[in-house]
Symmetry: C2
DNA sequence: TTGTACGCGTTATCAC
DNA sequence: GTGATAACGCGTACAA
């Protein structure tokens, strides 16, 4: 069942059928009705490949993420997909993993599928050295790129970020201003966003005249980022004699580990230990008391990604960079 | 840069270029080398739409899920996408929500994009009445359907499920055999899978000669399925005088709520209250003690979905239904 | 307002 | 082995 069959059964040319199909202007209401009736009767659906061939687009967006199993990124996928779909675009998903070669391959694969644009989720896709981002520059020559939570200045690359630096700085200041002296900082990623968060923590300390102490800053590799692992690690830290009265982390799950440490070692939260998480996820609600957490407005960011992309695709100009401010959601784990 | 350009620069016909491209049969090693060299030099990538038009396939699988924000489904997406990609297929994601009309639309939209097959995640896509599943039957006439965690007997529909019934039955028996008398059952979904779990719980009770008590069975709507909400609900139940010494749930997060209830009301786990969750997710590790949980082997199920789909697509015959057995992972929340 | 004819970039079927 | 050439199904100038 193709456009020729319809044109024949309807007694018109394929051009007319095509016009009806594309809601195009000049078709007499009468023939339009008739053609539509025939199409409905025959259950006709235009061939997407042929259409794509002609239009050079199948209205598809590539979604790249290092790992869709991460609840945070999973949420982002939901938000992005929903918004794109509402605007007539489908999403091709590509979970590349973090290995550089796989990420590059993922980008190329999506390009080879002729997506209209790509959204790159998280700053994992950014390399420290400029030459490492050559693959992004090349991709941007073919389709618009929108980066979520990553900042990269480049032609045809648009960035939507939350101000992680300011967020952790303010969280740190909030802890200090409530009387805390020794804030443990736990983080799980050294990518650009992870570095910003760390820098914000350090800036927060310095803004109150406190030194940056390496013994209060700890990194967790991905496979070590489980609640029990963090709990045990903090237990060992305390056992070694390290003193701390607050924990700030780059991920709620790390802070849940801290809460667990507190319970096991009978330290009361928030009286003896303040805890702040990041992402304001369901995990923040798992603890007793519930965790104060930085809400980085994921849904807002995602919607901004989509509307930016749509603007670019429709030829309108869009902001190269959009920055939102995170919000500290205060709950029972802080004074 | 298309196949004509390459053929011209290489001094061969497009037929030969096409043969080289498809690793196809009889091409002299010499010309093959030459053509490959020209393609590499020109950075030629064949047009996916044109290829799709000819082959009637773009090697794309449609992934349908009611809600990718659900960590469980998010994980499933990761597993499925990874396995399909490893086999040369891309995934078109469609998060439809649970409304019936949207689900039907989602299926139709993927069909209109000419996917090679579809994976439907969760039994949300199954209706109770047979006529409600007409849309699945129709879809199955066009492409193979694989259902994850849903059983539906129909031509060209393949199902991969975990035996939820047996899983909750065994979990229930395990609780009873450890001396528990009054098991609270909390669930969050009334779809086919949710009904199986509930039935398993009931069967477990009856297998030990206990009655099914409606006052011990409670449903949580999606928006009520948060840790604090469950905690508060259990507090109110206890306040009303209901006695229970164990909680079994259809979702880890519900059980986390139960753990929180226990802490707030100073009931010790597992001495005074046993708790079992479902899915064996990260949430099960958030509590102190960690939760015993039913591991329904999601990754195994997903891989089975993919290999089933690949078999069908390659013309081999595949099992109409594949059933796996869940495993009760015992942790500190049970005796 | 409607129809004709060509282009889009491949794959596949023939001949040679 | 290799090369013409016809599909594949649709969009769209251009003509009528």
């Amino acid at each position: 069942m193709n456009i020729y069959d319809i044109s024949e059964k309807a007694g018109v040319s394929i051009a007319t059928v095509s016009r009806v199909l594309n809601g195009s202007s000049r078709v007499s209401p009468k023939t339009r009705e008739h053609v539509l009736a025939v199409m409905a009767e025959q259950g006709y659906v235009p061939n997407a490949f042929a259409r794509g061939l002609g239009l050079k687009s199948m209205k598809t967006i590539g979604l790249l993420c290092p790992n869709a199993g991460d609840p945070y990124l999973a949420l982002a996928i939901t938000y992005l997909e929903r918004a794109f779909r509402a605007n007539g675009y489908d999403c091709l998903l590509s979970c590349t993993g973090k290995a550089r070669s796989d990420r590059v391959k993922g980008v190329e694969l999506l390009l080879s599928k002729l997506v209209d644009g790509m959204v790159l989720m998280g700053s994992t896709f950014l390399e420290a050295n400029e030459s490492g981002n050559k693959y992004l520059q090349n991709a941007a020559k073919r389709v618009p790129l929108v980066m979520l939570n990553a900042a990269y200045a480049c032609e045809n690359v648009y960035c939507v970020v939350c101000d992680d630096y300011r967020a952790t700085m303010e969280a740190t200041q909030s802890l200090l201003d409530s009387g805390r002296k020794n804030i443990l900082y736990l983080y799980h990623s050294r990518n650009a966003s992870g570095q910003k968060k760390l820098a914000g923590y350090q800036a927060g300390l310095q803004s109150r005249g406190l030194p940056i102490r390496d013994d209060l800053i700890h990194f967790f590799a991905e496979d070590k980022m489980s609640v029990p692992a963090v709990r045990d690690f903090l237990l060992s830290l305390a056992h070694q004699g390290l003193t701390f009265d607050a924990v700030l982390s780059s991920e709620d799950i790390l802070s849940v580990g801290a809460a667990k440490y507190a319970r096991v070692s009978r330290r009361s939260v928030p009286e003896s230990l303040s805890i702040i998480g990041y992402n304001n996820s369901s995990f923040a609600l798992c603890c007793e008391p519930e965790l104060t957490s930085v809400d980085n407005k994921l849904e807002v960011l995602c919607n901004a990604c989509v509307s930016t992309m749509l603007s670019v695709l429709s030829g309108k100009d869009a902001p190269q960079k959009t920055v939102y401010h995170a919000e500290l959601v205060k709950r029972g784990s802080t004074l």
